[in-house]
Symmetry: C2
Subunit: 355 residues, 2 copies
Amino acid sequence: MSQKLKTTSQRARREDVASVAGVSSAAVSYVLNKTKRLSPEVEQRVLDAARLLNYRPDRIAQSLAGSRTHTLAYMTADIANTYQLEVIKGMQTEALKNDYIVYIFDAAGDVKKYVSHLITRRVDGIFVSAAPDFLSDELLCELRDANIKVLADFSRSTFLPDVSYIMSDMYDGFMQAVGFLKELGHTEIGYLSAFDESCYYDLRLPAFKIAMRKLFGAGVPPIEFGGWPYSTSETLGIRLMTKMLSEHPEVTAIVATNDLMALGAIKAAIACGRRVPEDISVIGIDNIDSSAVSKPSLTTLDQSGNRYGAKIFEILHNDIVAGTSGKYIVPMRLIKRESTGTAPQNVENRILLQE
Amino acid sequence: MSQKLKTTSQRARREDVASVAGVSSAAVSYVLNKTKRLSPEVEQRVLDAARLLNYRPDRIAQSLAGSRTHTLAYMTADIANTYQLEVIKGMQTEALKNDYIVYIFDAAGDVKKYVSHLITRRVDGIFVSAAPDFLSDELLCELRDANIKVLADFSRSTFLPDVSYIMSDMYDGFMQAVGFLKELGHTEIGYLSAFDESCYYDLRLPAFKIAMRKLFGAGVPPIEFGGWPYSTSETLGIRLMTKMLSEHPEVTAIVATNDLMALGAIKAAIACGRRVPEDISVIGIDNIDSSAVSKPSLTTLDQSGNRYGAKIFEILHNDIVAGTSGKYIVPMRLIKRESTGTAPQNVENRILLQE
DNA sequence: TTGTAAGCGTTATCAA
DNA sequence: TTGATAACGCTTACAA
């Protein structure tokens, strides 16, 4: 069939497979891509030949001929962030299952050059992680206009047409968390916030306020702020919790912006003579690994990085295939552990004991 | 010239540039790739046309036509490691400068599938990070035989032909460190090792021993071992240093396997009533960020992650272009800071003081 | 010095 | 159901 078989070639080409199977090279494509059904007998011959030659279609050639490269990109301002790394892994794992590959960039480099690379290499889609906007709207549009699907974190400061956005369902999440505390009998619930009110991309604080309003009506819950420069460390949790306990000793439950701070809050509470959860309950957000093994283990709002990353792939993939775009909300889940318990019966008693 | 200009096309193609410049499409290639000199006038016309159309050659097509994809891969067992991330950034930055892009994989996934991807996508080269051997020799050979340049960490358990290896020059580094201590008058020098003698991929311990032998002759220096399971934390540094001070109070200088442990060692020394560097000098390895700002700042053997990463790119790039392979040794540099000083004059006096 | 044309390994269209 | 054949956008001999 084929007049020039590559004898020295390391890798088998489609034509080689066709020749071994005794069919046309088009037939090979049809069988392997399942793009057209041929006779079972022919299909088997092709499959056998492909296996025999260890044939794997060349992605480069496929990309040139087809319209997709099966390549995505993940762009973030901070690769080193633990949670971010989980998200990346989750996305990569899911991508790999579907024969996609993910470029990972951290925005510390020359963002403009990255964009250029993404376009010349024709990636199918890109995810742009949380604010602040290290990738300008202009560059985002350049990507979009180059026919690359863009999925951005919801917390970007602007919304662009034909760009998709993703967010965790913080509002529902906080409803779960605060609702759970309410069920346990808590009414005095405080919040430890890393960010102050002016931080436009923090959705957690407003979500907390809304949940409190909906479940307890009007009234301002006690909140401690970390302020600028923003950080979300365990140390900050300790500092804010200590402040909270002295300023608002009536509080019997605390929600913290993330697990690290919640862990710090527990330490601070214990240092101040409060037992967790007997005297005070603590809830975190993120469900980081250490939250499951801390003493006491931490009740937390789960947005597993891995699952989130997998979701990112699914959304991008779907948008690419269907040519769609939209705003996507990913549900969160409250993981109940040891750091939460029923509200103490007698608040006065507890305060007396402490003195 | 060109009979069918793409009017609707988003991106300019080479032919478009040729047509605007009034030359053949080959001329465009020659000028842009500097692969052949044309007349200055033609060159200018091409350059102008390219700029006008914002022309950027399609990497996919270049890859198919040419022999290189300008794509590399970095494979590691642990993305989350801080030092590793620095290396990755260093490599990526250097790669980007040279119009290369780097795939990043962590070996937690399906390594075999990664390899398949790398082959079908025809990456030019791959770096495989430190032991243990998460990537089997078999897969390594599959990559190599697919004409992909492989650069592996020196600490792999086996050496394969036509594969390149890279290592930091620990031997020279320890000669610098121990030599510096000798200059300062130290003779009793101890070592804090995370690994025990059986760890085949730890080059630091043998490097320390060799340096001691060369500079001080025979005799066994005092060494404390962390043992299995291997870890290199600050906590371990504290533990080993405490042990060292009680078992070998005559020691006036310490080298630790890495900066984290060295930092722990300083804390332990101070806790035991020893001043650093007046009573005891401490040297670390790695030059992590915090080593520069600790109190006292840490003298350390520098193998900057960024520089190392850049080096990885350079080596791979060169091996790819030249078709070579080899074993590469990257120099280290001793950064002298506050944690080292002249040896105490009177050892007896110091020990007495302490009692 | 410049242009022509044959690949590169696929996909996909269109007759046979 | 199958087999040619034209893209895809570029590199690179080779010819003019």
